[in-house]
């Protein structure tokens, strides 16, 4: 459990499934719900509970973001670590768009970056966002992420096509210094 000035960040538990379920509302497509085929996966509450119960790091790390009042405000994820590119995907999914401008969102992202760059020794983290996720996109760009491009018309939802943006942040740009290279951790 990490206590920050404006938030409390902890691993998401199966019991959080009910509170986090609105994030998986299929009516509003979000990039983190897309599978390899770019099709949205909308779990049931039970499936979400099972997902949060998994302890295998290969499935990713799930963290709940609480505000100082103990209210669950969102979900932070680190997943899909690519050992060849030393790259990981980050997800910050807040309950409300307005939450991205709150300090707890920034604290949650700082925590994820610290996990990725400081503990996993990632070189780069990436974020995928649909064109519907404008608040999150602005938040990520403001946090130093750089747009690497946009895949056009990858998802058909709500009667129209959606583009998928790809944003990246290197450890140097996030202030973590250059990657030490192979062998640097050896004693």
């Amino acid at each position: 459990m990490i206590v920050k000035d404006h938030s409390l960040i902890r691993t998401a538990d199966p019991d959080d499934a009910g509170a986090l379920y609105p994030l998986y509302d299929g009516r509003i497509p979000r990039a983190f719900m897309l599978d390899r085929k770019r099709e949205p996966v909308v779990p049931t509450r039970d499936e979400l509970r099972e997902l949060l119960a998994q302890k295998d790091p290969a499935n990713g790390f799930f963290y709940a973001i609480e505000d100082t009042q103990g209210v669950l405000r969102g979900l932070a994820m680190l997943r899909g670590f690519n050992p060849e590119a030393l790259c990981s995907e980050t997800v910050i999914a807040m309950m409300e768009d307005a939450d991205y401008s709150q300090p707890f969102a920034r604290e949650a992202l700082d925590f994820l970056l610290k996990q990725a760059f400081g503990r996993l020794w990632a070189r780069k983290v990436m974020v995928h966002l649909l064109d519907t996720e404008t608040a999150c996109r602005a938040f990520m760009l403001d946090s130093g992420f750089v747009l690497e491009g946009s895949q056009r018309e990858v998802l058909y939802s709500g009667g129209c096509w959606h583009n998928l943006d790809c944003l990246g942040l290197f450890r140097e740009s996030a202030g973590y210094g250059p990657y030490p290279g192979p062998g640097a951790m050896e004693t």
Binding site: R38, A85, G149, R152, V154, Y156
Partner: protein, 198 residues
């Protein structure tokens, strides 16, 4: 450009040919995954790719062999992550026969693969991830009207260096424009059919 290259479903008889391609260093350079895979592992992987359960009506991937009376089997087309909801797939095109890799036959092979995607599978979008150092490949894809949509910076390691990966997207309208413009010049048939091995 006249060529007799055609596409057909990959079969078990193609196994030795595909394994032989995948064991060659010049071919592995462009492949994703562990270059140290044993021939047995490669063989098992390909058998898994070629196998198809009769009960599985929607395959996870489609594998087609690029064949030619002149050269024999020259390459492999892999259509992955097929989404019938989004009418999209990811295309991998492997030219195993190095004699034709930089010839117009390779362009024809790419055209045949795309024609199959749009005119037979009725897809809306075809995507391809191509390493930045594989210039002939992405140049070929650009010729068809595909757009470089994303540049994944420093995403793949080769020979001690990190290289970019380009993500190309080709939409149906763009391919149709290319098709209308190029068909008369290419002298290709307008209809693509996956042929049996015969």
């Amino acid at each position: 450009m006249k060529t007799d290259i055609f596409i057909r479903r990959a079969e078990r008889d193609d196994l030795d040919t595909v394994v032989a391609w995948m064991e060659r260093p010049d071919f592995q350079h462009f492949l994703y995954g562990d270059a140290a895979r044993s021939p047995r592992r490669i063989r098992e992987q390909i058998v898994g790719m070629l196998g198809r359960s009769t009960g599985q009506t929607v395959p996870a991937g489609i594998y087609l062999v690029l064949d030619s009376k002149q050269y024999g089997a020259v390459g492999l087309v892999s259509l992955q992550s097929i989404s019938w909801r989004n009418h999209a797939c990811t295309l991998d095109l492997y030219i195993g026969n190095e004699k034709i890799r930089r010839t117009s036959a390779a362009a024809t092979a790419a055209y045949k693969a795309l024609e199959y995607c749009f005119d037979e599978m009725n897809l809306h979008r075809v995507m391809a991830f191509i390493y930045a150092f594989n210039r002939p490949s992405w140049r070929l894809f650009e010729m068809t009207g595909a757009v470089r949509e994303v540049t994944l910076k420093e995403q793949v390691a080769r020979d001690g260096k990190l290289h970019d990966i380009y993500c190309y997207g080709l939409l149906r309208d763009e391919f149709k424009t290319f098709q209308q413009r190029m068909l008369p010049r290419l002298g290709l048939h307008t209809h693509c059919v996956v042929q049996g091995k015969g």
